[in-house]
Symmetry: C2
Subunit: 398 residues, 2 copies
C-alpha cells in the first residue's frame, strides 16, 4: 500500500490502511481520521474534490452515508485514499488536528441490541450466580442470547458518566429496598457493529449478508450497575442497571479496513441450526485493552468470541424483525480464558471478593467517583501493520 | 362544550371533545380526527388559518409538534376547537373522509419500553409458570418492572403481521431445538404513552411531571410468540418473541382529551419509595375491548392497573436515563380481576389448556393465520360523553 503524504502520527494505528469515520467540530462535519489529523469530507464534497451525488457528506451525522450502501462506501474510500496518497491534493484539502477536535456521537442510533456472546463471560457469570447449577443456561449454545438496550442514552467517548441511582435488593425479604447511588458500578468491554443498510420487516438476513448491511465497527463500554440490575432484572432482563449510559467510540472503523483482521472463530458444539451457519465468518482478531486510571486491568481477545457478528445479525432478524440504518448491536462483554482477559470488573474481582491493585497502589472492586476507564483495541491491518480502533473513554461523576 | 359544525359521525367517540392526532394520505399531512372526517392541519397552516410559527405542522410526522411542548399543544387544540365550532370556517378548511384515508405511523419512535404493570397479569403468568412459588416476584410491588422493546418494528394499525419463525425449547434437554413458525402466537392488549418533551441525561423526572412530558395516549398490541419467548428469554428477558412487530393505533389521543377519564388507581401496598409517590396520579378509566375475528373475547379495565403512567415515567428515569421526543412506553398487558378481563390469549386460555369459542363456532387457543385482532377502548370525555381511542388492528399472515 502506498504511503500517505500526511506526516506519520505520534500514535500508530491511524494510517492510510485504516481511515475511520467520525463527526467533528462545532459544525459537525464528517471526517476521516488520518494519522494525527482529520480529513474534512464535508469541505471536500462542497469544494468538489469528493463526489457526493447523494449529498451524504453534507449531513451532520453518518446515517445518510451509512444508508447509501457498500458500493458508495467503497468508492468513497477509494477516493479518500487517492487524495491522501497523491501529494498534489495537499493544498486542496482541509486537514484538522485530531487533538483538541471535538468528536460527536457519529451517528443517530436506531435500535441498540446487546448480545451475550462470550462463552467465558457467560460461564463466569453463571458460576458466580448459579454456583450449584450448570454455568451455561440450556439455550446458550443454540442461539446468541440478546436483549434490547436504550438507544437514547448511547453517548460518545469522553462523555462524563453520572453514577446512577436506584433500588437495590433488600437485606431480608419483605424489607424496604435500599435506595441510592449504585455501589457496584461496572464496565463491560464490548465490540459494536453499526448497521448501514436496513432490511424489510417480515424478512430475515443470513450471516453471509453481514458485509452488505454492516457499515463498521466501534468499541463499546456498556456501563452496568450490578446492584440495581440484580434487584430489577427478573423476569424481564436488564433495564435501569444498564440504561443510564452506553459509551461508544467517536471513530467508526469501516469493514473495508478489517479484512486483514479476519480470523477463524472458535468451533461451535453443537453445530448451530442452518439459519446460523456462517460459512465465511467475520471472526475478528481485535486485541482489546481496558485501562482503569491508567493501569492496564484486562486484555480481552475478541477473536475468541463464540458467536460471530454474522450469526448475531441472522439471529436478530430470524423472526422477521427489520434492520434500520443506525442500528447498533454489540457483542456483549468480551472475556477470554485467562483471568487477565476478563472484560468486566465483576469477573476481574469475582463479584467483589478480590480487588484489583492499580499502579498508584489504590485498590478497586467496582468503580469510584472520578475513575477513568479507557477501552482500546488494535487489529492486524490489510498492510500487515496494526490499526488502532477509536478508543472509548469515560469518567465517573457523582 | 359547544357542538361542532361537522356532521355527527356514524360511530361515536370522535367528537369535538376528543381531537386525536394522526398522519394521513399520500402526502403524510398532519390531521385531527373529527367525527367521520380528518381536519388537515398541514393545509390549515399553509393557508394561514392555523398559526404555525415553528413549522411543526409542515412535518410528515408528529415529532416536531410533540417536541414543542404543552403550551403549543394547548394553543393548537384551542385553535382547532375554534375552527371546528365556528361555522364561518367551514369553507376555509380541508376536511377529508376518514374512511379510506391511509393512516401512517404517526410519529418516529425513539426508544420503546414495555412495562409489566398489571397485578393481575403478572399474577396470572406467575401462577402458570411458577406454580409452586409465590406468583409475584419479590421486586414487583416495589417498582414497575420493564424492559426495552424494538422501536424499529413498531407499526401502525392495519399493518399485516407476519407469523415469526424461531427456535423453541427442545422436548428433552440436549436435543436440537425445533425451528419453524411460532405455534403460540399471542396478543397483549396495552395502553401506550408517547413522550413529547425529552429530558437531559443524568436527571430524573418525577411522577407529577407526567403531563409536561407526555403528549398523548394510544392503544398498543404487543404481539408475542410465547414458544419463542419461553426458550430464549433466560437470562436477559424477551427479545425475538416480541421484536417481530408491535402495533399502535393511528390516532394519538392528547392528554387534554382525558381529564374526564382520570380515576383513582388501586391502593399500593407497601407504599412505594418517595421517588415513586404520585400525588395526582393519572389513573385513567379506559375500558378496553379485544375482538378476535369479530368476537369480543376480553374487556380489560385500564383503570385497575397497579402502577400509574407517572410512576412508570419516574422509574424509567430514576437512574438518570434521558427521555427523547418520540419515546413510547406501554403499560404491559392490561388484565382485570375477572376471567373475561384478561388481556392476552395465554391468560384467557390458561396457557392453552382451554380454548375460546368464537361466534362462528371456531375454537382458538393461540392465533391462526388469517385471524384479525382489534383492540379498542372508550373513556369518559370532558363533556360527560365517551370518547373512542383509535383502534389497533392486525391480521396474521403466514
Amino acid at each position: 500500500m502506498s504511503a500517505s503524504w500526511v506526516p506519520e502520527g505520534e500514535l500508530p494505528g491511524f494510517g492510510i490502511d485504516h481511515l475511520p469515520f467520525g463527526v467533528f467540530g462545532p459544525a459537525r462535519h464528517i471526517g476521516v481520521a488520518i494519522e494525527d489529523h482529520i480529513l474534512d469530507l464535508t469541505e471536500g464534497a462542497s469544494d468538489g474534490l469528493i463526489d457526493d451525488p447523494g449529498g451524504e457528506l453534507g449531513a451532520t451525522e453518518l446515517n445518510p452515508l451509512m444508508a447509501a450502501g457498500p458500493i458508495r462506501w467503497a468508492s468513497l474510500r477509494e477516493r479518500v485514499t487517492e487524495i491522501l496518497v497523491d501529494e498534489s491534493h495537499r493544498d486542496r484539502v482541509t486537514l484538522v488536528k485530531r487533538q483538541g477536535a471535538q468528536l460527536h456521537l457519529p451517528w443517530r442510533v436506531a435500535d441498540y441490541v446487546d448480545f451475550y456472546s462470550s462463552l467465558e463471560h457467560a460461564t463466569n457469570l453463571g458460576r458466580m450466580f448459579r454456583p450449584d447449577g450448570e454455568p451455561l443456561l440450556p439455550n446458550w449454545r443454540h442461539l446468541p442470547v440478546a436483549y434490547h438496550g436504550r438507544s437514547g442514552t448511547v453517548v460518545v467517548s469522553g462523555t462524563e458518566i453520572r453514577r446512577p441511582k436506584g433500588q437495590t435488593r433488600p437485606g431480608q425479604p419483605g424489607e424496604t429496598p435500599p435506595f441510592g447511588p449504585s455501589r457496584r458500578l461496572d464496565i463491560e468491554a464490548e465490540v459494536g457493529f453499526v448497521v448501514g443498510v436496513g432490511s424489510e420487516i417480515g424478512t430475515s438476513v443470513s450471516p453471509d449478508a453481514f458485509s452488505e448491511h454492516v457499515f463498521g465497527v466501534c468499541l463499546v463500554n456498556d456501563w452496568s450497575a450490578r446492584d440495581i440490575q440484580a434487584w430489577e432484572y427478573v423476569p424481564l432482563g436488564p433495564f435501569l442497571g444498564k440504561s443510564f449510559a452506553t459509551s461508544v467510540a467517536g471513530w467508526i472503523t469501516p469493514l473495508a479496513a478489517l479484512p486483514g483482521a479476519r480470523t477463524t472463530p472458535p468451533p461451535q458444539h453443537p453445530p448451530p441450526l442452518d439459519y446460523l451457519r456462517d460459512d465465511e465468518p467475520w471472526g475478528l482478531d481485535l486485541a482489546l485493552e481496558v485501562r482503569l486510571n491508567g493501569t492496564l486491568i484486562s486484555s480481552p481477545p475478541f477473536g475468541e468470541i463464540y458467536w460471530t457478528p454474522g450469526q448475531q445479525l441472522a439471529q436478530m432478524t430470524i423472526n422477521g424483525a427489520s434492520l434500520s440504518t443506525g442500528d447498533l448491536y454489540a457483542s456483549g462483554t468480551v472475556s477470554g480464558n485467562e483471568p487477565h482477559q476478563r472484560g468486566s470488573l465483576i469477573e476481574l474481582t469475582w463479584n467483589g471478593e478480590t480487588s484489583l491493585t492499580l499502579e498508584n497502589g489504590e485498590e478497586r472492586t467496582f468503580l469510584e467517583d472520578g475513575d477513568e476507564v479507557v477501552i482500546s483495541a488494535t487489529a492486524p491491518s490489510n498492510s500487515g501493520d496494526r490499526i488502532a480502533l477509536g478508543e472509548v473513554r469515560g469518567v465517573i461523576v457523582p
